[in-house]
Chain length 146, copies 2
DNA sequence: TATTGTTATACTCTATAACTATA
DNA sequence: TATAGTTATAGAGTATAACAATA
C-alpha cells in the first residue's frame, strides 16, 4: 500500500497515520476487545467512561454515536461481566446512571494502556521525533486537553 | 475525555491521536462506508486494492484479516455494485482474481481522499507543525513508503 | 407532550464447518 | 493430501418502531 502525493502536508500525514493503523496485525481495536471479551462498542464505552463519574444511557448513546436502543444491550453485557453497574438518578426517575465497578476501572486502565501503545513504526522513532510528535499533537488538541 | 500523563512521549502522542479519532462526529470510517453504500470491510477492500492490479480472494482475506468465507460475501456485494470484478487466474484454475472496475477505481480515489482528510484539530495546526508532522511520519514508515 | 430507557423485530456482518474443484 | 473458494448455518451487533414510565 503506497501513499499518493498530497498537496496539504496534513493530508499526507493523516494518510501515513492511516496506513500505519491499517498495517497493524491483528487490527488493534478488535484485538483488545477480544482480549477483554467485550464488543468494540463495549470497549469504547469502557475507554470513555471515567472512574468516579456516572453517565446516563442517553449520554452514552451520544458518546458512542449509536442508537439508544443499542446502549441497552451494550450495557447489559458489560453489567453481566461485572464491569459496570446501573444506578438510579435521584433527580430524574426516568434516568439510569452508568458507572464503572472496581473491576471495570481496572479493565479500563489496562484497555487504555493497550490502546495507547504506539505502533512499532512510531515506537521505533528517535527520541527527538517522538517528543516532537507529542508536542505537535498537544498543540492540536489545545493545552486544556493535556 | 482527558489523557493521562505517559512516560513514553510516543504513547502520549498516540493517546492524543486516538482521542482525536474518537472525537470525530460522525466516526469517519462508518460515515464514509455509508456514503458509498458499502460495509466497513468493503471500504477497506476498495481502499487497499490498487488500480491495475489483481489480488486473489485468499490474499484479500489476509489483507482484511478476516475469514476467507467472509470475503465471498464482501466481494459478492462489491461486484453487484459494479465496483470490482472476478477474473480467472490462467495459472491456477482454483484461484479467482479480484480487480477494480473503472467505477471502482473512481470510488477508491474518492474514498482515499475522504479518509485522508485530516481531522479539524490537525488541519488547524500552523504550516510548520503540519509539515513537521508529515516529515516525522514519513520517517516512521521509511523513505520507500512515501 | 416530550424524554428516558426497554422490548420486538428484521437485517447485516461475521466465523465455523462442510463441501466442490482443482492442485 | 493440501489449497482456493463457496455454501449452510448460527451467533452477535445494529437500527427502526412501538411501548411503559416519568417529566
Amino acid at each position: 500500500m503506497t501513499v499518493e502525493a498530497q498537496v496539504d502536508p496534513a493530508a499526507e500525514a493523516w494518510a501515513i497515520a492511516l496506513e500505519i493503523v491499517f498495517s497493524e496485525r491483528p487490527p488493534r481495536v478488535p484485538a483488545v476487545a477480544a482480549q477483554f471479551d467485550v464488543s468494540p462498542m463495549g470497549l469504547k464505552l469502557l475507554y470513555s467512561l471515567e472512574p468516579g463519574t456516572a453517565a446516563s444511557m442517553r449520554r452514552l448513546a451520544d458518546t458512542l454515536f449509536c442508537d439508544a436502543s443499542n446502549v441497552t444491550g451494550i450495557v447489559d453485557r458489560l453489567e453481566a461481566r461485572g464491569l459496570i453497574e446501573r444506578r438510579e438518578d435521584p433527580g430524574d426517575r426516568r434516568v439510569k446512571l452508568i458507572a464503572l465497578t472496581d473491576a471495570g476501572a481496572d479493565a479500563r486502565a489496562e484497555i487504555r494502556r493497550r490502546l495507547h501503545e504506539p505502533p512499532a513504526q512510531i515506537a521505533a522513532l528517535p527520541e527527538a521525533d517522538r517528543t516532537a510528535l507529542r508536542d505537535i499533537l498537544l498543540r492540536a488538541v489545545g493545552p486544556d486537553r493535556a
